[in-house]
């Protein structure tokens, strides 16, 4: 059975085989992974029959306070009554939905519809806010569209210069490195901007190691140099963009020595980077979480988009700007109505025409659709408070581990009148729930995923879910009918849901109208927008025009600003978080796979040997990391590859080792992205 990996946005092609009860995984030649898989992909089938898998709904027993197995009827009844009670007392918006970037397009779409129609609440958002929302907002305002890579991944292999900003694909998506190997074998240059010497940075021809939170200054200085050295493509700027003058004047204030003092990146390296980009035939700039997860994430990405535009890259064959999306369906998940301000097809929920179109597909009056809600962190932080929702339904997310300032969010979740979590394992968030619904895994359901290239792929069911387990779609349909949702009956089979999604997205920015499952099967996936059954899809965007009203890309002047929390005498070190190769996101899944647990058994705190010496800490000794918001504990891992003023920890673990206990909940004013990548901490011997 040909399908794709359940985890990250690379969506590596794989083959699943059922032998007796066991399922084996084999890599498959697909244009993205070219036969590669990382250890997460190889071991992904282990969870299908994991002993801890949930196979029955769980209800919290009021007397003992414990979660106890219950029937589906009892569980769904409890949810329906809970929702009714809360909405009667506090209004429709008192129920909220929290989704995930791992859900298929069908499920993300159905979830958005369920929230707006069955619950009638404006409160729906998802964990993609914590992932690539800053790049999404920056792409939207510059290009009029947000598609992670506006070109096929294979373009990376042919770039003369490739600049990665805050991206560590060698650990987060190893098979992608095959393209980078090809790129360098062809004589291309790889430049990496990262505060740590990551596995990716080690392979770079040039590594810029800025202080965390100063990428925007680096971007502005690179454009300053591009201007002074004559790398700016004047014709392109004149004919394909607007707004350059203000940007030019802003970056005039970012002479390289100023950025150097702020970031620690030598002027010579800035010059070398600008030259490599400015003189390359084909140049690509990619950002990822390192640049994006900041309270100035949108502006930081915009700084690099400005640079790409000034050099005339977007739309030039083999060149461009892109974002490396993280979650499996991070791309599709943000297009079909899971986001607080969006309707399917990447439409805005406050756009009257969009509302009319989607309402007609759903069979409800347009004016009954709720308005925009609030971004993820704001939503989570309001739960159980006087102003906030009192009931929450979570699908495909584990905010107790993944949200910033997680202890506070955990408290908010505890304050709810009703918390419902669907998952196939008892995640840290599910453990707090009043009702837990067991749901199908990736190999047990059909559907589509949209990978980091904007390519829509087919996920195929190898076998039905085990007894007692239902799919998210059937759960949503069952709840809809119990809640007597208005409008047309929502379908529960994914193929019909996709047909409805196509109609709902028709005419939108992310137009799926011309994409059918058959077409995907026939052609290694289909790139959106694809408005017609017969017409072509769109592997490359921007060749002739941008998706703005006048077809021109927009420059936006952006200024560096300090992090929301800078270091001080009490909290003298910068703290930054990220991922490791053998774990995925909040770790609910990967921490339960034996081979992955062996490879990455526990959390750690990475520190420079000089810092460790000053703290009197030896390698492997437990340390406590404290911020104004909380603390966590993990063994020290000494590494000369990190700046002595910075410490790093992966965020995959919960409990005492939860890195997000200390992270800052300051958010980007445009995208709502929390500042995961920098806060001030103190490190102590535990």
């Amino acid at each position: 059975m040909a399908t794709h990996c359940p985890y990250c946005a690379l969506q590596c092609g794989m083959i699943l085989r059922e032998e007796d009860d066991a399922v084996s995984v084999l890599p498959r030649q697909f244009p993205t992974n070219r036969g590669g898989l990382c250890q997460k992909g190889w071991t992904s089938a282990e969870l299908l029959s994991h002993p801890q898998r949930l196979t029955s709904p769980l209800l919290r027993d009021p007397a003992s306070g414990e979660l106890r197995p219950a029937s589906w009827d009892a569980a769904l009844d409890r949810i329906t009554t809970g929702i009714r009670d809360v909405q009667e007392k506090h209004g429709r918006d008192a129920v909220a939905v929290f989704g995930g970037g791992g859900l298929t397009n069908e499920k993300a779409y159905a979830l958005g519809r369920f929230a707006r129609v069955a619950l009638g609440t404006r409160h729906i958002d998802y964990n993609g806010r914590f992932c690539m929302s800053s790049a999404a907002a920056a792409g939207m305002r510059a290009f009029g569209v947000d598609r992670g890579l506006p070109f096929p991944l294979s373009d990376l292999g042919r770039a003369d210069t490739l600049l990665l900003v805050g991206a560590n694909p060698a650990e987060t998506m190893p098979p992608l490195m095959r393209w980078l190997t090809e790129q360098r074998e062809r004589g291309g240059r790889l430049i990496v901007i990262d505060p740590r010497v990551t596995a990716t940075a080690r392979q770079a021809d040039l590594h810029l190691q800025p202080l965390p939170g100063t990428d925007l200054a680096v971007a502005n200085a690179l454009l300053h140099i591009a201007l002074t050295e004559g790398y700016v493509d004047g014709d392109y700027v004149a004919t394909r963009t607007t707004g350059f003058t203000e940007v030019r004047r802003t970056v005039a204030g970012w002479w390289p020595a100023r950025a150097e003092a702020l970031s620690g990146v030598p002027v010579a390296d800035l010059e070398e980077t600008a030259r490599a980009l400015g003189t390359a035939g084909r140049a690509i700039i990619l950002t990822a979480r390192g640049a994006e997860q900041h309270a100035k994430g949108v502006d930081t990405v915009t700084g690099f988009v400005n640079l790409a535009l000034a050099l005339g890259l977007p739309g030039r064959p083999g060149s461009g700007y892109g974002c490396l999306t993280g979650q499996g369906n991070g791309q599709g998940g943000r297009e079909h109505g899971q986001k607080a301000d969006q309707l399917p097809g990447y439409r805005r929920i406050d756009d009257l025409e969009a509302r009319a179109h989607v309402a007609q597909v759903w069979g409800v009056p347009a004016d009954e659709l709720p308005g925009p809600g609030v971004p993820a962190y704001q939503l989570l932080d309001s739960l159980g408070t006087d102003q906030g929702p009192r009931a929450l339904l979570v699908f495909g997310s584990n905010p107790v581990v993944s949200a910033p300032r997680a202890a506070r969010i955990e408290g908010r979740l505890r304050d709810l009148d009703l918390l419902v979590v669907t998952d196939f394992l008892l995640s840290e968030t599910a453990a707090l729930a009043d009702v837990v619904l067991p749901t199908a895994q990736w190999a047990e359901e059909d559907g589509t995923m949209t990978n980091l290239e904007g390519r829509v792929l087919r996920r195929r069911a190898l076998r039905p879910p085990p007894a007692g387990v239902r799919t998210d779609l059937s759960i949503l349909t069952a709840l809809s009918s119990r809640l007597r949702a208005p409008g047309r009956q929502p379908p529960d089979d994914p193929h019909t849901v996709f047909a409805e999604l196509r109609r709902a997205s028709a005419g939108g920015i992310a137009d799926y109208a011309g994409i059918s499952w058959d077409r995907i099967d026939a052609a290694d996936g289909v790139y959106w927008p694809c408005p017609d059954d017969e017409g072509p899809d769109s592997p490359r965007l921007f060749t002739y025009r941008f998706a703005t009203a006048d077809g021109l890309a927009r420059f936006h002047p952006v200024e560096h600003r300090p992090a929301a929390e800078e270091v001080c005498a009490d909290y003298p070190l910068y703290f930054t978080t990220g991922r490791v190769l053998a774990q995925y996101q909040s770790g609910t899944q990967t921490r339960r796979v034996a081979a992955l647990r062996r490879a990455a058994p526990e959390a750690f705190v990475e520190l420079h040997p000089d810092l460790a010496e000053r703290l009197g800490v030896a390698d492997g000794e437990p340390v406590r990391v404290l911020s104004r918001r909380g603390e966590f504990q993990a063994p020290a891992r000494l590494s000369p590859g990190i700046r002595p003023d910075t410490v790093f920890a992966p965020f995959h673990w919960g409990g005492r080792a939860r890195a997000n206990s200390v992270t800052n909940d300051a958010v980007d004013p445009i995208s709502g992205m929390p500042e995961f990548k920098i806060c001030a901490v103190r490190v102590e011997k535990a």
Binding site: P27, G35, G36, L37, C38, Q39, W42, A170, P174, P175, L176, M177, R178, T181, V197, A199, R202, Q203, H207, Q209, L211, L227, T228, E229, G230, E246, R248, R249, T250, A252, G253, W255, P256, A257, R258, E260, A261, S263, G264, P266, V267, A268, D269, P557, L581, A582, R598, A599, H608, P609, D610, E613, R614, S639, P640, G641, I642, R643, P644, D645
Partner: protein, 481 residues
């Protein structure tokens, strides 16, 4: 001065004046800000004039972001002729009177014209030009069209930038400097000598330890006479003999003035309704003459005047001097002449590289880095932030960025321990590969299929091939079954 001032007048639209207008605007939308600038141009980046001189960029490239028209009233080409403190007004040379609640002086500094026979500061000859303003730059550029030889008087930072810019334009450039080594305020003699060598390679001749004694200029050229009896001929002479704060306005208004206008930590002059910032201000005995402190001061004034942070105070940070000129990479900070602490040096004059550091109390007290010093960014940050220096000092003199240690090349398979990870993506150890071989795998593909090594990023396939090769040579003899 705490609390809200409705009408703020800024004198000077240079680096500091334009910045304080922007900072005020960003904090107090309802504030009325008037900027009066003597220069006829909208705000521009003065430090980019050196780049403008090279001809690589045009005038529009040095423009700075404008706040004019967004609640800020900018009047260019208007000189303030007097401050009437009693009535709270300024008088301009076009006869206007403008009232202020708060006044910010950002009059900057002027190029010093040395007292030499043949140089009248008020009427400089056409071919003798200071290097301070955009108009100066235009005049220099107008002459470079036909000029072949240029002289620069002054071997400090500014003079060298000018010299390098003119050399890039293809002129023959000579620099005349009084002291026996260049940039004597920032460098030590050894660094100065290396720098002179670098400049020579770039087409700039230096004449050291000589004083000019007279200038003769006419429509055809300039002749500079020197104290050693020589005289140098050129088509133009650029004056880079330092700057003097422009304090005339403040002094005439009766404000306390020393070398600059005296200010306290809030940048207040002796009149609390008047602040001074940038090159014209003297804080704690110091004239700054650089942009970074001017902008820090602008921020403090805006915070205090708008009431956003009445307690904001200017805290000077140690200055870092950076020479910006193609082919020269120079950073200098702290006092080069001496002081307590350990000193480290590295010199490779043949390649134009020189590094000198003084460390005191585990902190960087001073440094000079010239040429290819990959650690320059780290050194500047450690100095600026006062953070402790690395235990291994070599990282500062020679290293890439701190910690940028390059991974050791893969050891030969024989020397690798069994536990060593060969494939990171799939955590496959050398031991696992050897076991796979013993189980019968004999080719790279078979090893890959058997262990999953090389199926992630593919980067370890060479290493796997190396292990297969090694095993096929050694196994029958050494490993056995």
């Amino acid at each position: 001065m705490t609390g809200h001032s409705e009408r703020v007048v800024v004198v000077g639209n240079g680096m500091a004046g334009a910045r304080v207008a922007a900072e005020l605007h960003a904090r107090g939308e309802d504030l009325k800000v008037t900027v009066l600038g003597a220069e006829p141009h909208p705000a521009y980046n003065r430090i980019m004039l050196s780049t403008l001189l090279t001809g690589k960029i045009g005038e529009s490239d040095v423009e700075l972001a404008e706040v004019a028209g967004r609640g800020v009233d900018l009047r260019t080409g208007v000189t303030v002729s007097a401050i009437e403190r009693a009535t709270g007004q300024v008088r301009t040379d076009d006869g206007d009177r403008i009232p202020y609640h708060h006044l910010v002086l950002a009059t900057g500094s002027r190029a010093v014209v040395p007292a030499l026979p043949g140089l009248d500061p008020e009427h400089l000859p056409e071919r003798v030009i200071p290097f301070r303003t955009l108009d100066d730059c235009r005049r220099i550029l107008a002459l470079t069209g036909t000029a072949r030889r240029a002289l620069v008087l002054g071997g400090g930072l500014l003079g060298l930038e000018a010299a390098r810019g003119l050399a890039i334009r293809g002129l023959d450039v000579g620099v005349v400097h009084r002291v026996p080594y260049l940039m004597d305020r920032q460098l030590d003699p050894a660094a100065g000598a290396v720098l002179a060598g670098t400049l020579a390679g770039l087409g700039v001749t230096t004449h050291l330890a000589v004083e000019p004694t007279a200038v003769h200029a006419d429509a055809a050229g300039v002749r500079l006479e020197l104290s050693d009896g020589r005289s140098l001929d050129a088509d133009l002479l650029v004056l880079a003999c330092g700057v003097r704060p422009d304090t005339a306005l403040a002094a005439a208004a009766g404000l306390a003035v020393d070398r600059g206008v005296l200010v306290d930590d809030r940048l207040r002059t002796s009149d609390r309704r008047i602040s001074a910032i940038g090159d014209c201000a003297q804080h704690d005995g110091t004239l700054t003459g650089l942009v970074a402190p001017a902008w820090a001061q602008a921020r403090v004034v805006a915070q205090v005047v708008t009431g956003q942070d009445p307690l904001a105070r200017y805290r000077p940070r140690p200055a870092v001097t950076r020479l910006k000129a193609a082919g020269i990479d120079l950073a200098a900070m702290g006092d080069p002449t001496g002081g307590p602490g350990e000193e480290l040096t590295f010199a490779d004059p043949a390649r134009g590289t020189y590094a000198w550091l003084r460390i005191h109390d585990e902190r960087l007290a001073a440094a000079i880095l010239l040429g290819d010093n990959p650690s320059v960014g780290t050194v500047i940050q450690l100095f600026d932030r006062g953070h402790p220096v690395p235990t291994d000092r070599r990282a500062l003199l020679l290293g890439r960025a701190v910690g940028g240690a390059v991974a050791a090349p893969a050891a030969s398979p024989a020397l690798m321990p069994d536990a060593a990870t060969v494939c990171q993506c799939n955590t496959v150890s050398k031991g696992a590969l050897v076991r796979c071989w013993r189980d019968g795998a004999r080719t790279v593909d078979a090893m890959v299929a058997g262990t999953r090594a090389g199926t992630g990023c593919g980067g370890c396939r060479d290493a796997v091939a190396g292990i297969v090769d090694w095993l096929s040579r050694t196994d029958p003899v050494e490993v056995g079954r």
